[in-house]
């Protein structure tokens, strides 16, 4: 176990690249997922009729998509110097992530220097690597691109903490080497005016393990496209999400798992709570099982707890199966209010209505958070959720139903 050292990156770069087949790899385009392109102009400004934009309030994102962005976001790490960078076209940048919408294409094209986090082969980071993302100017549209490259057999937990006000187009590209174990926590802890669009994409090597945890709490509008594919057989992906949409907030998570190798697994579990007028969440979970993906196992789930009137949660799971030889494939989506029996049980033990509701919501999230497996990340997340519940209670007691 070693601490992260950004200067180590050059030494191991060649080895990591061997695990990356590169952008030239032929990919069948599924109807679930548009073909990617680095060319900004090939992604037209959305009109709202496009399948991938139909849930997004375009008036709130238009300004980010129209004109060229004005700058880049600041990415800093505790106790780290400036992170090494990758220019446009400099591998491994661009080998995993090809932009699938205009927001991601802009982020790619306008971030001249992508931050590069390299975990050399076999290296295990003992501590989570925490990166803070902040915009210097909350009004300007800024971009960012982060490349996480985990060499074969390496282990790391990387926490991306987005704070402050920003209008941000941000991409995260993750290469998980063979038998590497990588956890990426993306914490959207923005001020309430922030708008965040972005694409996160990972490719998981042979028997690699990838976890992505999206936590979307603050911001006016968050729309993340989160994609995973595999670079070898037996890769495992767990995509977890926790979100809390307050009045007026739009939180959209779009997932695409591309089972393009045999014996892989994917588990998608997103949970959200919604409270307040026009609180809105969207979850789109696409899973494609290609003919070559024999013996894979996948399950995706989205659960929403609606805490008051005036909220809306959309959940759209899609499963496209092109081979019959799989272990399992399933999905579920539910949107519901409080369970009367749970509330009664807790209230019969003396908890008042607000306390009972709060405990139920907390438990709903805690169940998922407990599966992250990194205890200080779990604790920090539950503390965030507690704060979110405090706020929700102050703004309007957890009433409804």
């Amino acid at each position: 176990m070693t601490a992260f050292d950004p200067v180590l990156r050059k030494r191991e770069a060649a080895e990591v690249n061997a695990a990356n087949p590169g952008p030239a790899e032929a990919r069948t385009v599924s109807h679930l997922h548009p073909a990617g392109s680095f060319d900004v102009d090939s992604h037209l400004l959305p009109s709202g009729r496009e399948e991938v934009w139909r849930f997004t309030p375009l008036d709130r994102v238009e300004a980010l998509l129209k004109d060229p962005p004005a700058g880049v976001i600041e990415i800093t790490g505790d106790g780290l110097g400036p992170l090494p960078t990758l220019a446009i076209g400099q591998t491994p940048r661009g080998t995993v992530l090809t932009p699938t919408d205009r927001a991601a294409a802009l982020a790619s094209a306008h971030t001249a220097a992508a931050a590069h986090v390299l975990i050399p082969a076999g290296q295990r980071l003992e501590e989570p690597l925490r990166l803070s993302l902040r915009a210097a100017d909350p009004e300007a549209v800024v971009t960012g691109h982060l490349v996480i490259e985990a060499g074969p057999g390496s282990q790391a937990v990387i926490v991306l903490h987005h704070t402050g006000a920003a209008r941000y187009l941000g991409n995260v590209e993750v290469s998980v080497g063979d038998e590497a174990r990588v956890t990426v926590v993306s914490l959207q802890d923005w001020d309430h005016t922030a708008v965040h669009l972005g694409q996160h994409e990972a490719r998981v090597g042979r028997r690699g393990e990838y976890r992505h945890i999206a936590v979307s709490l603050g911001g006016d509008l968050i729309r993340l496209q989160n994609n995973v594919s595999y670079a070898g057989s037996g890769g495992a992906a767990q995509l977890f999400g926790v979100y809390f949409a307050d009045a007026g907030q739009h939180i959209e998570h779009r997932l695409f798992v591309d089972h393009n190798h045999p014996k892989g697994t994917s588990l998608v579990d997103y949970r959200g709570a919604l409270q307040g007028q026009h609180a809105r969440s969207v979850w789109v979970g696409d899973v494609l099982i290609r003919p070559e993906a024999k013996g894979i196992d996948t399950y995706e789930s989205n659960k929403n707890l609606v805490l008051s009137e005036g909220c809306r949660a959309d959940a759209v799971p899609n499963l496209e199966i092109e081979t019959g030889e799989i272990q399992g494939a399933g999905h579920s989506a539910s949107t519901g209010r409080f369970d009367e029996e749970q509330l009664f049980y807790l209230r019969s033990r003396g908890l008042d209505e607000a306390a009972a509701r709060r405990l139920v919501v907390r438990g709903f999230f805690a169940q998922l958070v407990a599966r992250i497996g990194v205890s200080d990340v779990e604790e920090a997340l539950m503390a965030k959720i507690d704060r979110e519940l405090d706020q929700a209670e102050r703004s309007r007691p957890l009433k409804g139903a």
Binding site: F344, R347, S348, R349, G350, L351, D352, G363, A366
Partner: protein
């Protein structure tokens, strides 16, 4: 100290349950007074309204009191929220304890104790108390880190209800078929828990059961036969033995005739 007010006093209680087809009357005039220090057993056929009585006393939102009254040491419970009734000193061990995913037993117990006691118990002594209570019900202390009732066996759920009874120590406890689904050893363990609670001398117990088995361990002061939404007969423990012999038939027939 037994004033006329002391006790859980149920007078001519009428209760309806919310159904899709509208309210349906279930309790049709229940009279019962549980004084401090007394143990009352209620026995009756399936569907006679025993759980309805238990739920409506505890304030379940599906049940509406349409007539009569329930007073706890003089405080009218009708119209009070379930938590207000719990704070007044009422406890219901449920026939089907509810799962609360993601909420640990430890957190649940501590939150309940804090809500009822008005202040959080000191952490160190509380953990000891919880461990001791779990131990008395022969539940492992790792039990406290599990989600409330989730994945508990039937017997574990019932023992967990008695752990709560001991820790929260209410004035009056309603136990709805806490003995159902217990193996012979668990039955004894649960009965000992109830007896410890009752041994304080000033607590009242309403024990709903289908089996005289538990009355071998818990000595009731009164046994009531519950049929068609009301009490059809009252007696001592010999009444339970008669029921064991003859069943409910004569009471059911009498109720149907009336």
């Amino acid at each position: 100290m037994t004033t006329t007010d002391s006790g859980l006093v149920i007078t001519d209680l009428h209760v309806s349950v919310e159904t899709e087809a509208g309210p349906k009357p279930i309790l049709k005039g229940v009279d019962l007074a549980i004084r401090p220090g007394q143990i009352h057993a209620i026995m009756g056929p399936n569907g006679s309204g025993k759980s309805t009585l238990a739920y409506s006393l505890a304030g379940h939102p599906k049940y509406t009191i349409t007539g009569g009254s329930v007073a706890l040491d003089g405080l009218e419970l009708a119209g009070l929220s379930p938590d207000a009734r719990a704070k007044a000193g009422l406890f219901l061990a449920m026939q089907y304890p509810v799962e609360v995913p993601g909420v640990s037993v430890a957190n649940f117990l501590r939150t309940a104790k804090t809500a009822l006691g008005g202040a959080a118990p000191s952490l160190r002594s509380w953990v000891k108390e919880v461990d001791a209570a779990l131990g008395r019900l022969q539940l492992d202390s790792e039990f406290s880190s599990r989600s409330v009732n989730e994945g508990f066996s039937g017997g574990e759920k019932k023992r967990h209800e008695i752990v709560q009874l001991e820790l929260l120590n209410p004035k009056y406890a309603i136990l709805d078929e806490t003995d159902s689904g217990l193996d012979i050893d668990a039955l004894r363990i649960v009965a000992e828990g109830v007896n410890r609670y009752a041994a304080q001398g000033d607590r009242g117990v309403l024990l709903i059961t289908h089996y005289t088995r538990i009355l071998r361990y818990i000595e009731p002061d009164f046994v009531h036969v519950f049929v068609d939404g009301r009490i059809a007969e009252e007696g001592g423990r010999e009444l339970a033995d008669q029921l064991e012999e003859n069943g409910y038939e004569k009471y059911v027939k009498a109720a149907a005739a009336s």
